[in-house]
Structure formats: C-alpha cells, structure tokens
Symmetry: C2
Subunit: 664 residues, 2 copies
C-alpha cells in the first residue's frame, strides 16, 4: 500500500497538466474582432487587477495570522497555513485568467462556428478552474503527507485554514464586488436610463462583467477549494485521533478517494461535448453522471481493499447522493419548469410586495428537503462508519468537485460571452447562442450553489467532529448552559454576518449608482453613443468597496470562535459551531433559493407570461430579482465560508484553548 | 409556609375581581352616537363570531388530544389538558369582549372628555385582558396544586399543553385573519381605489378592525398565557425532579413569585394615569417600572425566606432584566427615533428593492443584542440557581405579564378607536387624540412583540430542561449524530412553519382582494357613498380562511416532536427542541423587527420626510410595510408558539417515548 502515498500528488499533477492543456487550447483560439479583444481586455484587466489588489490586501491579514499561528500554535502549522493560502491564490489566479480568456473566445466560437463549439470553449474554460481547485488541493495535502509523514500530519489543519481564509475574502469580497456592480448597473442603466442589459453605454457594464468573474468564478472556486481541502483534512484528522483504526490507512483513504475523484472528473470533462441543436444541459449532465458513477463504483473497491468491508463506501455514497439530491432540489425550487417559480411569477401581478412575500416563503419552504437529506446522510454515514463516516460523506460529496466547479464556472463564462456579444454589436444569431448557453448556466449556477451549501454543511460538520476529538471532548452537552449559550450565539452569527454583507452591498451599490448617474449627467455624449463612458472608474469603485467591506465580516468569522473558545470554553465553542452550522445552512439555502427563484420568475415573465416585459408584473419581478441578488450571490454563499472557517479556526486553535482554559 | 399554598389561587382571584371591576367601569361608560354604536357592534360581533367559530373548530382537535392523552399517558393529564384549554378560552373570551367594548368608548372619551380619559379607557380595556391572563393562569396552576398535592403535581404539564394548543390556533388563526384583512383592505382600498385607511366605503374595513382584536388582543393574550403557564410549570417540574431541593418549596416558590407579580401588576395598572398634554407613553412606562420594581424587591425577600439565600432572586432578576432589555432593544430597531428606521426610510428613495434589502438587513442585525442578553441571562441564572434557575428566569421575566399584556392590548384598542372615529366621521380633534394614542400603541406593540419572543425563548428553554429531566437524560450530546440530526431538523422547522403561515396569509389575502374588487365592481354606489358595502362577507372570508389555514401548521407543531421522539428517540428530540428554539428565536426576532421597522419607516415618510405621502419613497415604503405585515403579525409571532408548544408536547408525551423506545 506504500505506493498509494504517491497517488494523491500524482493525480493532483495530472489534473494540473490536463488543465494546462485545456488552457493552451483555449489560448490558441481566435478572440475575434478588435472590438471584441478590446472589451475582453477591459474585463480581463479589471478582473485580474481586482484579484491582485485583493491578494495584496490579504497579505497583511495572512502575515498577522502567520505570526499568531507560529507563536500561539507552532511554526509548522503556520508554514502549512501559508502554503494553503498560496495554493488557493494560485487556483483562483489560474482559473480566472483562463476564464477571462474563454469568455471572448466563446463569443467568437458562437460567431464563427456555432453552438457546439461555443459550449466546448465555455465549458473547457470552466474546467480549468475545476481542475486547478482539485489539482492544487490534493497536490498540497498529498505532498505535505509525504514530507511530514503520519506523525506530524496533524499540522495539515494549517493548510486547511489557509484555504479557508483566502476563501473568506474571495467569496465575501467577490460577492460584494459583483452585486455592487450588478445592482448599480441595473438600477441606473436598465430602470432609470432604460437601456438594455450589457449596453456599452452603461458605465458600470464592464464592472458588472468583471463581477461575474471575480464573484462566480474566483469566489466560487475558492469556496469549493475550501470545502474540498476541509473535507479531506477532517477525515485525516479523525483517522489520526482514532483509537480503533490504522492511522495511516485512515489518512490515506480519503486521499485515494479524492485521487479517483480527480480521474473521474477528467473523464467526465471529456464526456461533455454537445451536438448542434441539442440542449447543452444534457451534455453537462452526462459529464456529471459519468464522474459520479466512476466514484461510486471505485469506492466499493477502495473500501474493501483498505478496510475489508463495504461500510466506508456506503458513507461515501451517502455523501454523494446528498450532494446530487440537493442540486436537484435546488432546481425544483428555482427553475421556471416547476410550480414554485411559476407561483412567484403569478404573484408578481399583484405587485412587488406579494412578489417578495411569496419568494421569501418559497425560499423558506425550500429548506425542508435539503435538511431531510443532510440529516439522513449524516445518520447513514455514521451508522456505517462512525464519526469518520461523516467526514467520508463530505469527501464523497466533494470527490467530483473538479467536474462540479467546471460546470459551475461555465455559467459566468457563457454570461460574459453574451455580454461581449452585446457590447460588440455582434449579429443576433450569436446572442441567441450565448443566451441559450447562459440560460443553462443559470440553472447550473443554482445547482452549484446548492452543492456548495450542502458540501459546506457536511465539511463543517466533519470539521466540528474533528474539533471535538482534538480537544478531547467526550460529549458536547446541550444540558450544559454554556453549550446552549454557545448554540444561541452560533445560530445568531450567520444572521449577523448576512446583515453585514447585505449592508455592504447596499453601501457599495449606492456608490456605484451615484457614479453612473454622475457620468450620465456630466457627459450627455454617453447616452448618445458619441463618447465613451469611464468604465475604469466603476471598476475601481467596486474594487475599493469590496476590499473595504470584506474586512469587518472577515474579522468576525476569525475572532468569534477564538473569543468564545477562550472566554466560554471549548464545550461552549462546540455549541457555537453546531448552532452556526445549523442556522447557517438554513439561511444559506433560503437566501440562495429565494434569490434564484426571483431571478427565474423575472426571466419567466420576460418570456411573455403575465404580460411580459414592461408589464406591471415585470416591474414587480425586477424588484424581486434585485432583492434576490445579494441574497443569492453575496450573503447566502458567504455563509458557506463562515461556517467552515469558524470550525477550522476552532480546530487549529484547539491547542491554545486547551493551554489557557476558559475565563468563565 | 402552609398558607402559601393559597397565595396563588387567591391572587389569581384578586386579579379576576379587579378585572371584573374594570370591565364594569368600562361597560357603564357611554358608547357615543348611534352610528358609533353600530360600527362598534359590527366589530364586536365579527370578533366574537370569529372566536366562537375558532373555538368550535378546535373542539375536534381538543377532543382528539384528550383521548390520545387519556389513553396514551393518563386521564388525569388529559383532564388537566381540558382545563388548561378551557382557561385559555375564557381568558381570550373575556379579554376580547371587553376590548371590543373599550374601543368605541375610547373614541367617545376622546370626543367628549379628552386625551387623559381616552388613555384611561383604552388602557383599562387592555388591563382586563392582562389580568384575565395572569388571573386564570395562576388560579389554574394554584388550584390544581391544592387539589392534587405535590405527589400528583407532575400532571400539571397537561394544563400547560392545553394552554399551548389554544395559543397555537389563537396566534396562527388570529395572525392569518388580521393580515388577510389588512393586506386585502390596503391593497385594494388604499392602493387601487385611493381611499384612506379606515374609510367606511372599504368593504374590508370592518374585517381589518376585527383583525386587530382577534390577532393583537386575543392572539397575543393566548401567546403570553402560554408563556406564563409554561414558565411556572417548568419551574414546578424541575422542582419535582430535583434531588437536592425541597420539592414543595421548589414548586411553591414560582407560584408565590407569580402571586407577587399579580399584585405588582395591579398596583402598576393603577399607576397608569395620564395628564392632559403629556406623552401617554410616560404613563404606560411608569406602570411598567412600578410593577417591575415591586417584583425585584420582593424576590429578595421571597428567595431568602424560601431558600435562605439570595441566589434564586438573582436568577429571577436576570430574567426580568432580559425581558426589559429585549423590549428596549426592539424599540431601538423599530422606532423612527433611532437611526435604523431612518436608514430604511432613506433607502426608500431608491425604490422598493433597496427598501426590502435594508429592512431585511436591519432585521437580521437586530438579532445580535437580544441573543447576547438571552445568553447572558441563561448563564447568570444557571450560575446562581442551576437548571431550576433557568426556569426561574422565565418566571421572573413573566411575573409582570399582567402589566405587559395590559400595555400591549391597549394598542389595538386605541387603533380601533381611531378606526371608529374615522368611520363615524367624528371631528378632527378626536382623530388627533386617537392618532396620538395609536402611535404610542405602535411602539408598545413592538416592545410587546420583543417581550413575547424573549419570554418564549426562556420558557421553551426551561421546558426543554424539564423535558430532559423527566425523560432522565443525563446529557444531550451534540457528538451523537442523532442529536445533530435532531438539531438540524429542529432548526429547519421554524423556517417550514413560517413558510406555511406566510403562504396562508398570501392565499387568504388574495381571496380578500378578489372580494373587495368584486364589491367595488358590482356596486358603484359603494364608492359614491350611497350604498353600504357588504362588511359581513369580508369578515366571513377572513374567518373561514384563518380557520382553514391554521390546521396544517398547527398539526405540524404537534406531530413533529412526537414523530421525532418515536422514530429517532428522546435524545434526538432534545436536539430538535434546542435547534428549533435557537433558530426560531432568531427568525422571530428578525421578522418582528424587520416588520416593525418597515412599518415605522413608512410612517416616518408620511410625516413628511423624503418627500412625504405620494412620493416615490412613500410608494417603496408601502411595499416594505406590506411585506412586513405577515412578518411581524403572523409568521414571527407564530414561531413563539411553535417553539413552546413543541417542547411542552415533548414533555407531556415523555412517558410514551420512554415506553416505546425509538425506531432507529
């Protein structure tokens, strides 16, 4: 079994090589007309500039954390932390630089070749992000294992914390960026000035397109990088703390599973090829099912060879099934093919108030089934493989992350392609193709959000269990008022966090609105089409606002668990983590699905139902969609990070809590 | 100490006698002109008819529960259940019949005497409800104790369950009724037809005024009756299961405290007397502070004489302080005197979407401090008096319920008085007085809502602790996946429950909208003022819809804990209760405060800010207010009941869980 140590880093490298191949293929494609290249360069430069400034801002944070970890915990953990943060940065940087090349080439493929080629370009662009996430994640964890060996492997939590802290700023900053730009562009451009989406006269239009990349590509990628690493790390830690399991086998097993997941994802990615005049969703689904199927079959062999029974495979499959189920359920609540979105659309006829009420109600209703699946998954995983099984369920769910991220990142690339087509006044047929790709992208994005939340829930739970083992808690007793107190505090934090991020979007959007209004007011040539708007200023506003606004919620996520651990003690902190995970998952599902449902209700009305565009129902639907924007793209997804980050912080700082005891 | 057994029922009787005195005083007042009497009789008949039909509907439910309890648990518990349900009905019936007399007499007092007298009538009307709630609650618990003695006292949980099941239907049914009527009256009357609030030409206007009574008087009263009884019962049960405490002293102590609270409330009520040209709020606050002060001072004596130390007094005071703090915090987040409501109002300028986002954000933000206070209260209470202390904190908080309900029920009476003044075309000065009283009533209502949630949280926690002791759980361990599963399920239930109630309001309001539109369409004389609208039909629609829609959420609240207890076991049920309480409190606070803040942002704009009535900001504010209506008056308050009811169901059915074991 010795050679298995190398399986993880090798398959990580395979993923990266494959990603490099796809990236080169994309780079060689023609990017179209000069105008297209120019617009694409605006987007690309804006996105990369944001990433660079975001990373620069975080250097201070990372440096402080490095020292805190080094002094407070140990320097090996601190170094691991740096590596984890660095790998997350690399994944985001590579992934997004390719995504911002793929967008314009997708538009050009639609223009010059057709739907099939456009789908291929967009999907391969997304696949680079997916492969970078899993490749770097597994390469990191696997290499650290080889270098440090099983005895020092517990410092791997530092790697996970590094991934988490980057994810925090990536998701929160990216989420604020994208929605400030989006809301700003929509409210002034579409509503006040009456110009269409992606109109080049709108000064915020580039910022809006940049936002799709930094929020939906880089932010989402960092979120799943965190989940992916966190799930593997939690399984490793549970193996290390186990008294009944062979530690090496227990630590290698999740890595071997992840290695198979990477191969499965690569194969799945190759299965995604559309045919002209077929639904692109079918091609994407095929890839997902192929990679899922490979993991399921392999998990039986793997479980048998490692542990001599199928039990661990059942835990893995439980997680995988929960992930797929949550994705499908998300579709039911957010796609206009089902009754819920139609119900919201019909409520739009009686105005914005009933639109909001019904969407909010459906968001809350949509929490029921995902929770039932998560609970069933936990119970099944535990029944077959104990606490370790819960971590395996998370690893199982995340094993096909490469494929999931590929499908997910495809959406914003297609969306960007449509934007570029519009801004460059490409022929109508091009827009028809990109619209089709984009509409599939909306569904996959909603499914991806569901998956991200579900994986965050399982990862946080697995890390929570690891935390309890590392601090040596035999029970976390809800009859202890400290635990109940922790539970209440924890349940409150996602609400607080969402309030902060929502407020940030409001403030940033307000600045954007003022700027767009100012440009229209001071230069009437913009609306006439004779002078160019100052795109860069809007990009700059979004960037600055996002970087400024991500600090407060970010600090809260790091400080809260440390403070509770030191003041109320380790058992109260356990309560806090459980409470935050439970209420966080619910809030995240509710916000993501309400937002998705409003979005699609608006699109449904725009297709001509209930009076179509320009009707009072449509006006109400636009209100719903705007409310839903920060719900689904900022606050909701940010909660994923919050719950994972708090648990990993608790896990990493466990030695400190044990050393100091609690104040109360 | 023997005579103390009689303190509880005697002070209960004192409260009832005092209530009877106030009721007779109100009845003897002049009800004004014939037109006033006629309008008042419509409201009164509609309200009483609703209560009667509501109770009739519940007879089936109560009968089934009676048999289930008798067969499944024991017949003494079942009989106690009947008595508890009956007492809740009596409190609601008495309280509301006086409230619907006081409304018109308040209007007439404003017409014939002045502000001071009008305040007195309205407040005394509310005081009857307050005194009925505490009088019947304590009379019931105290008499059962005398009759059964300490050994059989554990069946008192049946009494509490009876109170809870009536509260469920009272709060949910009342909440649906009032908002269906309100939203229906507003959307068609104010928005479509452009007639003012409370215009007699609006067919839904009577239903709207009836709704204030059945929702804000009877529904709120039944909610606090449940909390009041539940808190005392949980303390009694913890005394009975205690191994370290004198059982009789432990059981008598909360009753003695409640008896003092009644006397304190009666004295507080007498302190409420306004002076002409002063703020009525000052008079109400004086009464609240007087009764709170009496309880605090007495609790020291009581604690010393029962237990020989002040420790129990500290627990009581912790609860009382948490209650007052939550009330004050509620005011900060929902009154236009503070920055948050002003912030929403300024966001109204950029349309309904930003109005909703900012109000939602503030609702979430407003959860932080109440949770910090609740957690601090729990920890303090436990530190001084153990698990029993948590129940004492709840009893302490609720000791002045008589006063709190009086202040709270005053609001809808003043509101009704204003409606009657408008419908009867009374002189403008009358409306000025009732508007002043009403605006104070809005603040007290918001504070009362905060208090209701806080008391529900503490009561539910106290009952949760009692449950654990009765089923003999030494720990409820969050490392047990069944408990985590229960926690997730429990956290989800308030979301599910709110989705159901919100959806019900939507459906019922839709029916109301259709009916009002139909009447306007079919009889043009209504708008001209030459023919009378068919008020009765609107009252009927609200009534039927409320009765129909309250069934599903009501059944869920009863069935969920029983199902989880039987299928997943008693420890998982513990997790469910803790999860439901935590997420329920957060959701309830968020919804109540967001709703209150939107309401007052609209009123703030109507006072002339941001363009005043008719401005685009006002239109946006109306959307916020309409969204907030079911938030603050239906779904939010219903959650209070849900969390208490589920815990009391778990407590009562504990023997069944122990007998059957769990399926999994």
């Amino acid at each position: 079994m010795e050679f298995l140590v190398y399986a993880a880093p090798i398959s990580g490298i395979i993923a990266l090589v494959f990603a490099y191949g796809l990236a080169s293929w994309i780079s060689k494609l023609d990017a179209g007309t000069d105008r297209m290249k120019e617009i694409a360069s605006f987007i690309s430069e804006g996105a990369m500039a944001f990433l660079r400034r975001e990373y620069k801002t975080m250097v201070v944070f990372v440096a402080v954390m490095f020292v805190v970890l080094g002094v407070g915990i140990d320097w090996l953990t601190a170094v691991n932390y740096l590596i984890g943060a660095g790998f997350s940065v690399l994944a985001g940087y590579f992934g997004m630089s390719v995504a911002t090349k793929a967008n314009v080439r997708t538009a050009n493929a639609a223009r010059e070749v057709g739907m099939n080629q456009a789908l291929k370009v967009a999907f391969r662009g997304g696949a680079v992000m997916g492969l970078c996430v899993v490749g770097l994640g597994l390469l990191g964890v696997g290499s650290i294992f080889i270098i440090l060996g099983i005895d020092k492997m517990s410092v791997i939590t530092g790697f996970s914390l590094g991934a988490s802290s980057m994810a925090l700023f990536g998701r929160v900053g990216g989420g604020i960026y994208t929605k400030a730009a989006d809301v700003g562009a929509d409210l002034v451009g579409k509503v006040e000035a009456g110009i269409p989406e992606d109109d080049p006269r709108n000064p915020a239009v580039i910022a809006d397109n940049v936002g799709d990349n930094v929020g939906d590509v880089a932010g989402m990628g960092s979120d799943l990088f965190e989940s992916y690493v966190g799930a593997i790390v939690s399984a490793v830690i549970l193996a290390l703390t186990s008294t009944t399991m062979d530690k090496t086998a227990g630590a290698l097993f999740p890595m071997a599973l992840a290695a198979i997941g990477i191969i499965a994802s690569v194969i799945g990615i190759m299965f995604v090829r559309g045919k002209e005049n077929t639904n692109p969703a079918a091609a994407l689904n095929r890839g997902t099912y192929v990679s899922g199927g490979i993991v399921i079959v392999s998990s039986f062999f793997l479980s048998l060879s490692f542990f001599g029974s199928f039990n661990n495979a059942y835990a893995i499959i439980a997680g995988l099934v929960v992930g797929i189920a949550i994705g499908k359920l998300t579709e039911i609540y957010t796609s206009s093919d089902f009754k819920y979105v139609k119900r919201i659309a019909s409520q739009c006829e009686t105005g914005p108030a009933t639109t909001i009420i019904s969407g909010f109600g459906i968001g809350m209703l949509s929490t029921v089934w995902p929770i039932l699946f998560i609970v069933a998954g936990i119970i099944v995983a535990y029944d077959f493989a104990g606490l370790y099984g819960i971590a395996l369920a998370a690893v199982g769910m995340l094993s096909t992350t490469g494929m999931v991220v590929a499908v997910d990142a495809y959406g914003p690339i297609a969306d960007n392609a449509g934007g570029i087509a519009e801004m460059c006044h490409l022929p109508k047929e091009v827009r028809v193709i990109t619209d089709k790709l984009d509409s599939v992208g909306n569904t996959t994005a909603a499914i991806g959000k569901g998956f991200a939340i579900g994986s965050a829930a399982l990862t946080a739970l697995a890390l929570f269990v690891s935390y309890s083992q590392v601090v040596g808690l035999k029970t976390i007793d809800l009859l202890n008022p400290m635990v109940v107190g922790g539970l209440f505090l924890g349940s409150m934090l996602p609400f607080f966090f969402s309030a902060l991020t929502m407020n940030s979007v409001g403030k940033a959007a307000f600045e954007m609105i003022e700027e767009v209004r100012r440009q229209f007011r001071e230069d009437s040539g913009i609306m006439a089409g004779t002078s160019k708007p100052d795109y860069a200023r809007c990009v700059d506003i979004s960037t600055k606002a996002a970087l400024r606004e991500m600090i407060a919620p970010g600090m809260m996520a790091v400080v809260a668990p440390i403070a509770v651990g030191l003041i109320l003690g380790i058992e109260a902190l356990g309560g806090l983590l459980a409470g935050a995970t439970a209420s966080g998952v619910l809030l995240a599902v509710m916000m993501a699905n309400a937002g998705g449902a409003w979005d699609n209700a608006k699109k449904y009305i725009e297709e001509g139902h209930h009076g179509g565009k320009g009707s009072t129902a449509h006006t109400a639907a636009v209100v719903g969609d705007t409310v839903g924007d920060p719900f689904k793209d900022t606050s909701g997804p940010s909660i994923n990070i919050l719950i994972k980050l708090m648990t990993i912080v608790a896990l990493v700082f466990a030695p400190m809590f044990l050393a100091f005891g609690s104040l109360l």
